[in-house]
Subunit: 383 residues, 2 copies
């Protein structure tokens, strides 16, 4: 079941099922047997298997990077970066993205059935980490016959996975791109996630995590969690420019309907989110992010985490108005990479769009990524 | 029932009941009959009634400025400013604070009984505004026989009321102090409030606002609302310094207990808040803040709102790390005051404590307020 280098199909996808004797070993000490990883790919693996790029997705995104999403019907989330003529081009690269373990788009997660009990895992699912996500990706990549990745690329939580790849499997990646990421979750990051988790767990339809068994869904709690999180993805300026104090209709309602457009927008964000995301996955993935502190296993010295990474080419990008993973977090990463002797290029991009800028129209980001990936291809001897 | 200038009691308090023929007229067009306003005072009104200072409280605070809180048993919330030897000294000033209309510490609010029905108002309570709060305060001050206030002082939502006083009753105030305030709520401000309201209304124990009739309390929803709001009161730096990634106990729990101290702290903030605050009051007061836009009634020109205020001495303070009502909001106020020809002193105070700095140990704030209030007393001919 390895991927054929001569595949005629440029766009593929599916669920990779690992045999029971290849469990995913977890940081918690546990293991997941019968691991399933949902993946999507674009382009073909070349003859010497040197053109594979792994994209790591953010908290609520998934493997549908560049194709229409099967649930929402919306275009892929990073078509700016992936597609014909784009920095990652299926004509040139084999581009792979996998739903993280703990997710809800086909990979094993708390919504999956525990083979040992025949019932959904719910809260009996083990707490996973960013390193566990990366370990599962490494298993997938290996199973597909890819020894070395040309690049690992990700934004936000995807950027955390990229850094983890560089720490866990430096010999298996040629370059690494971390956009709007961080090497650890700050107190404020944890605080916002905790608000979201408490909102979900406060919803009586959550049922202690066993909502699947009860036929309920904690939609109100999950919507509130999304609303709180969504504010952190945008800059104050972006919200002000987009909505200001604009009203939904003429005059105030003198009630608690959505009077302001920003209220209506947030409510819509919450309501549409629950259609595509699972509440328990939200708990587990936010927990993984909160637990993330790449330096912790290295005596608190981030450079030590990168001690094996000095041959990797790094590209670190941040946005001026990102207050979730602000530029100082990226500078902290760059300093550690420099201290480790790695090659790191760093660009702080002027943008007023906040954290979500990595998903939006930011030509400077596109140009930076195109330039970096081009140079990486050249260095790797790819045309 | 006017306050005696010769009162022997330095600290007083109670509930002022207005007769039915003195209703509170509301911006919404409605009215509240049988208005009750809970108040507390410190010091005595002098013979010429020229030493009265009104303090306006913030969203979740109340009239207990400088005395032990009857519910929580904690000291007053602004003992830094009010007390013997403090910038506002009961030996020198008559210091008054009233619970806002819509509140839950004794003033008429959604938790009060509607005299017309004999049942708690709940969501039939009219939506109120900052101007309505100020109108009720003006009624109280007049009823107490105070024609002119030496100063109106407030932080956060209290600062909004101070600005509203200057717009609504400029001839009745001699000076005005607005700390960490704003002349309008931004899109981000509204967004965070909307998250809190949705959290409350998502709680089934809220019962459409009629929880009092059902003997329930939407404690989980209100706690989530408080948690989300509380993050906005602190700077990222303050959270990082106070908690960082410190754990509650040795090692991670690998579950959803509060692993990090910041989680435990936030949960405590939520849990203790529900003991002292009413969910419907939270809805109404946040709504009043969201509706606040002082310039709106003046063609969007803030200076016009202050056209009658050119004889008032203003003191505007902001904090560098306050991202809820950041310094540009204060500068916007100061520019408008300058344009209106009013005397405005402005200090941006270097602090990493965030919005809550106005309640915390900030000697520069204390000094600025002491200096300003001293100069005001001198100008008013008070020793």
């Amino acid at each position: 079941m390895t991927l054929e280098a001569t595949s005629e199909i440029e766009q593929r996808g599916g669920v990779w099922r690992f045999p029971a004797d290849q469990p995913l070993r977890l940081d918690s000490g546990g293991r997941i047997e019968g691991l399933e990883i949902a993946w999507a790919s674009y382009g073909r693996l070349n003859a010497d298997r040197s053109n594979a790029v792994l994209i790591c997705h953010a908290l609520t995104l998934d493997q549908h990077v560049a194709a229409t999403h099967p649930v929402t019907g919306k275009p892929g989330w990073w078509t700016r970066l992936v597609g014909p003529g784009k920095p990652l081009d299926p004509a040139r690269h084999f581009i792979l993205c996998a739903n993280v373990v703990g997710g809800c788009q086909g990979s094993t997660g708390p919504g999956s059935v525990n083979p040992a009990t025949g019932r959904p895992w719910g809260l009996t699912f083990p707490v996973i980490t960013i390193a566990d996500m990366v370990r599962a990706q490494a298993m997938l990549v290996e199973a597909m016959g890819v020894e070395t990745l040309l690049a690992v690329v990700g934004g936000s939580m995807g950027g955390m996975q990229v850094l983890q790849w560089a720490a866990s499997y430096p010999e298996r990646i040629f370059s690494a791109v971390c956009v709007a990421g961080a090497a650890r979750h700050s107190a404020q990051n944890i605080a916002f996630h905790e608000v979201g988790r408490q909102a979900i767990m406060a919803d009586p339809d959550w049922r202690g995590g066993d909502y699947a068994l009860h036929g309920t869904r904690p939609e109100k709690g999950l919507a509130v969690a999304r609303m709180a999180a969504h504010i952190t993805y945008l800059s104050e300026m972006a919200l002000q420019r987009k909505f200001g104090r604009e009203l939904q209709r003429d005059g105030l309602s003198w009630g608690f309907d959505a009077d302001f457009q920003v209220e209506s927008y947030l409510r819509h964000q919450g309501a549409s989110f629950v259609d595509r995301f699972d509440a328990n996955s939200y708990l587990y993935i936010t927990r993984a992010m909160d637990y993330f502190d790449l330096a912790a296993a290295h005596g608190g010295v981030l450079a030590e985490a990168f001690s094996g990474a000095r041959d990797i080419r790094f590209c670190i990008l941040s946005f001026t108005s990102d207050w979730l993973y602000p530029t100082p977090e990226s500078r902290h990463i760059v300093r550690a990479l420099n201290a480790a002797g790695a090659r790191a290029s760093f660009v702080e991009i002027e943008s007023d769009k906040g954290h979500d800028a990595f998903l939006l129209d930011e030509p400077v980001m596109d140009a930076a990524l195109a330039g970096f990936l081009d140079s990486v291809c050249t260095a790797r001897g790819l045309k």
